[in-house]
């Protein structure tokens, strides 16, 4: 970041460093949400629809993991990906991919737990109809996930919010490398520790603005969808 500039000036001048940081933040958090959804939505639906021993325990654990401290996740992923660790051969530490991995882990419980709740409620509503139409287990999952798509969008947004806001995981596994693994939150942490508080606050406001924009886009999509499908 250039010296003696406010965050507003950086935004107005479309400073390339700032743009790169914003782009990386969005790529990392959005990818994490997508990957987490890919795994956690079917998993949440499965837990909602299947009776298995220990189901109640699984629910409690899933809900509890929503509160996983990001810095703990970061540490765990760091130890996994370190060259001295089991997955060191992949060479992923201190790269954006490591950050995506850590945030995916962080975000999966939220999406999974909210999906489970949504699908469970929908199953109560549609159980008779689907059973009477002889819809099989996969069909039920697919149908209820689609029926619950608006609530699931909210779940994804909750996941995105968590990912975009956290700094503990990405700073440990990413290393906050300038021009490579520096995101909005790690940049704010850096500027704060350097004592440049006005810049840090400014970056914080930019981050909030971005999160609001993402939420607004999702809300618009949801309203349009609801109008079409009732």
């Amino acid at each position: 970041m250039p010296d003696d500039v406010t965050a507003l000036q950086l935004v107005l001048n479309a400073d390339p460093t700032l743009l790169a940081i914003v782009r990386l933040s969005l790529i990392v958090s959005l990818s994490a949400v997508c990957l987490a959804a890919l795994i956690a939505v079917p998993l949440g639906a499965l837990i909602a629809l299947t009776r298995f021993p220990g189901r109640e325990t699984a629910n409690v654990v899933l809900n509890a993991m929503m509160g996983l401290p990001p810095v703990v996740v970061g540490l765990a992923v760091y130890l996994l990906l370190s060259r001295s660790g089991p997955l060191g051969g992949w060479g992923l530490l201190f790269t954006p991919m490591a950050m995506i991995l850590a945030q995916t882990i962080l975000v999966m419980p939220i999406i999974g737990a909210l999906t489970r709740q949504t699908v469970e409620d929908l199953w109560t509503e549609y159980r008779d109809e689907l059973t009477s139409m002889n819809v099989g287990p996969l069909g039920r999952m697919a149908t209820l996930i689609w029926e619950g798509r608006f609530s699931l969008v909210t779940a994804l947004l909750a996941g995105f919010g968590r990912a975009a806001a956290e700094v503990g995981a990405v700073i440990i596994v990413g290393g906050n490398i300038e021009g490579f693994t520096r995101t909005m939150t790690t940049a704010i942490a850096l500027e704060t520790s350097k004592g440049d508080l006005p810049l840090a606050v400014g970056l914080g406001l930019v981050l909030i603005a971005i999160v609001i924009v993402v939420n607004a886009l999702a809300w618009t999509a949801r309203r349009a969808g609801e109008r079409l499908a009732g």
Partner: protein, 242 residues
């Protein structure tokens, strides 16, 4: 609409079937035969077991005692049964989309779906609402859509649980006309109702239930003109059966 699957599904024979939910007995040693032919109408006070009987015949509830067979088979895989619930749940898609869902469930090819949807919507008088979100239809329209959706499964037997309970006379007439048409096409209709007039209008066979037991079974004319049991006489007279 094709007919003759009846051989795989009918008759439905209840043999001393009891259904319990915890400590509560919903059906008590019911012995009944649902044979092909004119509609069978279940009547009786609330809590008599009409809904449970329909659900059991549909395969949604399991007998805790006794045996129920479809065309002689216990729980066959290839029955053509469909049910319209008292408060049908609409999927969050258009009216046509709801029917398409049912068609997909029975494996109708994509290229055929459109025509069948049109046919079914016309049969229930909803063709002009094809693209309307199903949850925004009126109660009566949703009931008719549920009927169309059930027909999409190409059933040999169609169960209807109090299909006109929440409808006004116009809506009721619409449903009864459709039910009559369905029956005339050869699909066996089994429905329950609160309305003795409706029972008279639609039935071939009347089944009176009370406290989970079959009290009397008879052809509609015989039942109403010359009821055999005291309960039947009191029920027809309008008394509360306790």
């Amino acid at each position: 609409m094709s007919i003759c699957h009846s051989s795989a599904t009918l008759p439905i024979v209840f043999d001393e079937v009891s259904v319990t939910a915890g400590a509560v007995t919903l059906l008590d040693r019911v012995t009944l035969t649902v044979a092909p032919g004119e509609p069978t109408v279940l009547i009786g006070p609330n809590g008599a077991g009409k809904t449970t009987l329909l659900r059991t015949a549909m395969g949604l509830a399991r007998p805790s005692r006794g045996q129920i067979t479809w065309a002689g088979q216990l729980n066959p895989l290839s029955t053509r049964r469909a049910i319209v619930f008292q408060r049908p749940a609409m999927l969050r898609r258009s009216a046509g989309g709801n029917i398409r869902y049912a068609l997909r469930a029975v494996g109708i090819a994509r290229w055929r779906q459109r025509a069948v949807i049109d046919e079914l919507l016309a049969a229930v008088g909803l063709q002009h609402l094809r693209n309307r979100p199903a949850r925004r239809l009126s109660v009566g329209e949703q009931q008719r859509l549920a009927l169309a959706r059930a027909l999409a499964l190409d059933p040999a037997v169609l169960f209807l649980d109090e299909p006109t309970a929440s409808l006004d006379p116009t809506g009721t007439k619409a449903i009864e006309d459709i039910v009559r048409e369905i029956g005339a096409r050869g699909i066996k209709v089994v429905l329950s109702t609160h309305d003795l007039g409706e029972a008279k209008r639609l039935a071939g066979q009347i089944v009176l239930l009370h406290r989970g037991r079959v009290i009397e079974v008879g052809a509609v004319a015989a039942f109403f003109d010359a009821p055999q049991t005291a309960e039947a006489r009191r029920f027809i007279a309008g008394e509360l059966l306790v």
